[in-house]
């Protein structure tokens, strides 16, 4: 066996053992060290894709420079190069068209290939001052037996380092993803609004996993479909997906994806909490056509449990919040919610200079209804009045149950005249209410209401002032025969009576 200088392999081993940032740096360093040892002009490392039976250029170093090139060798099963990959050959050496040596970089479960090349030097005519003639004969020296063995030994050393680096890179990437995902979980676990939480999830998943598109659907139990919530595109922009619906049942096309077509470029992950499906996360790289690495797909599937929990938490929070903000009997917001909204509306009016009015409504002789026909009938009357309010107000109006049989209505962008007009219509509607009561003479009980109005800025500039003024107007109506409405102008101009 040919011998080498004592230190050659040891120095190579030591140099490769120094820390590297990744495969590229390792290969670049190794090829740099090999070039003078093997007297090679060009050294290339080709990664192997066994399934496609092809070799793809990973890194090429030519005369001291790294060169980027598109090179894929698709090989036949009996091609000498494929025999080398499969271990049917130890190395592959060519003398023509130029000296060329292939060495396998083999480790358990993997094999890349090292290619060593020497170029035929171009004949160079020397100037006559130098004696003329040709410097080179145009042929490069073939690889000697010693160089072939050295190349094999260097290749074995490189394969060991390559395996470790690839493994370390894989672990580092996985660890990085896990840490990022942990951070992300903390962010969206703290997000208590479903809409915001979903956007954070979709954007986080798209960015961390480098995806072209992420879509989130939630189960709509009432209509038995998966309803689109949010879609995040390749630039991280979130778009509403509300118009999209998917069937709930799983099948070949889950998440609108053709599994048979898109293979490893798309993934649909069900979101499940306590065995119950609450939604679906659909991730794809259809635009870039890049493969979703299987490690990432597995991580995303594992992570789907965390996402499902976060989504469920946010949903529960919204449900609890809704329960605390809305009156169970009338379905109208409660006083606390109304006050908050009223304050916001006042700020808006201060900025825009637009008026805002508030109406306080009291159901006439409600106590008598309760006492005569029972609380169930009283509740029914209250519910009907609530429905009439919801049906007859403008989209921007906001009503609430103030307490007992008193209700409040906020009328943004409505001055005193418009407020009177809106509430007059409502009053007419309330008069039409008929709640069936079997044991009454008429077979039903009707309803009427007294309404007091106050407007910003005429009657006050704060929530308390305006509600108090509306309350004063309401009591004025109640003391003047009920079933009507009044505002502060009426009280001032017509203190003796005569409802509007």
């Amino acid at each position: 066996m040919p011998s080498f200088g004592h230190g050659t392999l040891y120095r190579f081993h030591q140099e490769l053992g120094r820390p590297v940032s990744g495969t590229q740096e390792l290969l670049s360093r190794a090829l740099g060290l090999m070039a003078p040892l093997l007297r090679a002009e060009r050294l290339s490392v080709l990664s192997c894709r066994r399934a496609e039976r092809s070799l793809r250029l990973a890194l090429c170093r030519e005369r001291g420079r790294l060169v980027g090139r598109d090179e894929t060798l698709v090989l036949g099963p009996d091609a000498p190069l494929w025999q080398l990959v499969e271990g049917r050959r130890r190395r592959l050496c060519f003398a023509k068209p130029r000296p060329l040596l292939y060495v396998p970089l083999r480790w358990e479960g993997g094999c890349w290939v090292l290619r060593v090349e020497r170029f035929a030097r171009r004949p160079l005519r020397l100037p006559s001052a130098c004696g003329g003639g040709r410097e080179e004969d145009g042929r490069a020296r073939p690889f000697t037996a010693r160089e072939r063995v050295l190349a094999r030994l260097l290749g074995e050393e490189l394969a060991r380092s390559l395996r470790q680096t690839l493994k370390a890179e894989q672990n580092r990437s996985l660890l990085g993803r896990l840490m990022e995902l942990t951070d992300m979980t903390a962010v969206f676990a703290g997000s208590l609004r479903v809409e915001h939480g979903l956007r954070v999830i979709a954007q986080g998943v798209a960015r961390r996993f480098g995806l072209d598109r992420v879509r989130l659907y939630l189960v709509d139990s009432a209509s038995g479909v998966l309803r689109g919530e949010v879609s995040v595109d390749v630039r991280g922009r979130a778009l509403s997906l509300r118009s999209e619906e998917l069937p709930l049942d799983e099948g070949e096309e889950e998440g609108g994806l053709r599994k048979d077509l898109f293979e490893d470029r798309a993934l649909a992950v069900p979101l499940v909490v306590k065995g119950q499906r609450i939604g679906l996360l659909v991730a794809d790289n259809l635009l870039s056509q890049q493969t979703l690495p299987s490690a990432d797909a597995a991580l995303l599937k594992t992570y789907a449990g965390q996402i499902a929990l976060a989504v469920d938490n946010a949903r529960l929070f919204e449900e609890v919040q809704a329960l605390s903000l809305y009156d169970a009997l009338t379905g109208l917001p409660v006083r606390r919610f109304f006050t908050q909204r009223f304050q916001e509306e006042l700020y808006r009016s201060e900025r825009s200079g637009q008026p805002v009015s508030v109406a306080m409504l009291d159901i006439d002789r409600f106590k008598a209804v309760n006492d005569t026909y029972g609380h169930q009938t009283g509740d029914a009357v209250l519910r009907e009045v609530g429905c009439a309010i919801s049906r007859n107000l403008r989209k921007l109006d906001f009503s609430a149950r103030y307490g007992g049989d008193e209700l409040l209505v906020l009328l943004p962008q409505a001055g005193p005249e418009e407020a009177v007009s809106i509430m007059s219509r409502l009053l007419q509607e309330i008069r039409r209410i008929r709640v069936p009561v079997e044991f009454s003479k008429a077979g039903w009980v009707g309803a009427s209401a007294s309404i007091g109005l106050a407007s910003y800025p005429h009657d006050g500039r704060t929530v308390d002032d305006l509600v108090r003024k509306a309350d004063e107007a309401l009591y004025w109506v109640k003391s003047h025969g009920r079933d009507g409405l009044a505002d502060t102008r009426i009280i001032l101009n017509n203190p003796q009576g005569n409802l509007l």
């Binding site: 250029l57 980027g68 090179e71 698709v74 190069l81 060329l100 960015r207 390749v234 898109f262 635009l287």
Partner: protein, 318 residues
Amino acid sequence: MEITAKPLAELWAGLFQMLRDPDAPRPDIVAVPSHWTPQLARLGLLMELSALEPAFDPAACPAPLRPHACPEEGKAFSLPWRLEAPALFCRGDILERGGLRPEELASPDAFRRACRSLGKVAGGRALLKGPSGSLRWRDAAPFVWARGGDFFSTEGRALFAREEALRGFEDLFELIAEGALVLSEDSGLPVPGIGEGGCVFELGPAPEGPYADRVVALPFPGGAAPLLWALHLAVPSDCAFPAEAWKRVRSLSPAPPPLPDVRTLPALLLAGTLERILERALERLAVLALGGAYSKQGLQDEVAHAAAEADAVSGQYA
């Protein structure tokens, strides 16, 4: 000035990295295959060139490449840099030895027959030099067009699973399976060019080398116009120095050469994506052809699968 050369697959991945990560380092100028421009412009990755110089006239771009450079009327997003219009060349002396005349190769079938009969007189040379690197859309185009087939409609609907296109693919992969079209030598190196005596036919630029004087140009079988393939220069939309980048693009973009009757890959809004789907199928078929596992049924299945995927992706991003 720093120049980074990247293989196309890596360039494609790099462009998507730029889209996904606004903090990723980005160049001031990118060189991309011309037919990617509409998709990259739609994704908001490229700057509109007329916005950089209002006086710039998009009509300065050569007419065949204008649909690539100007996906919207009057708005250019890239300018030609490197143009290639490969012709079909043949070793006249070998053709003569085989008793054939150039005009006898006018149809795709005649060309296939010539490849079979010339095998005996080719002296061990490859008959047709394959592309260096992987089999790409541009390599398959002359075969498909020669049979009157096409790849995509103007709306991006896949046409390459239709009969004419399938016959073109058949020509290509049967030549590979028969060993007439050689993708790479046993050494893994590309087949030497026709000018160097490495093959009988070559689809490429005008040959150079000791055998160049024995080479004759042939019309494309089936009378198909040659493919014009171009690399275009563009300025990324978040370029830090757009004015300087634009100045450089203008200086690097050559005056339009007189272009013969040529054909280009279609200007599609998803051209890059659809190209990757098609090329994946081509790669799988090449593996089958090289492994002796090629069959017409296998070709039809693979092409139909790719066409269905292309249509499904187009549908998702319509």
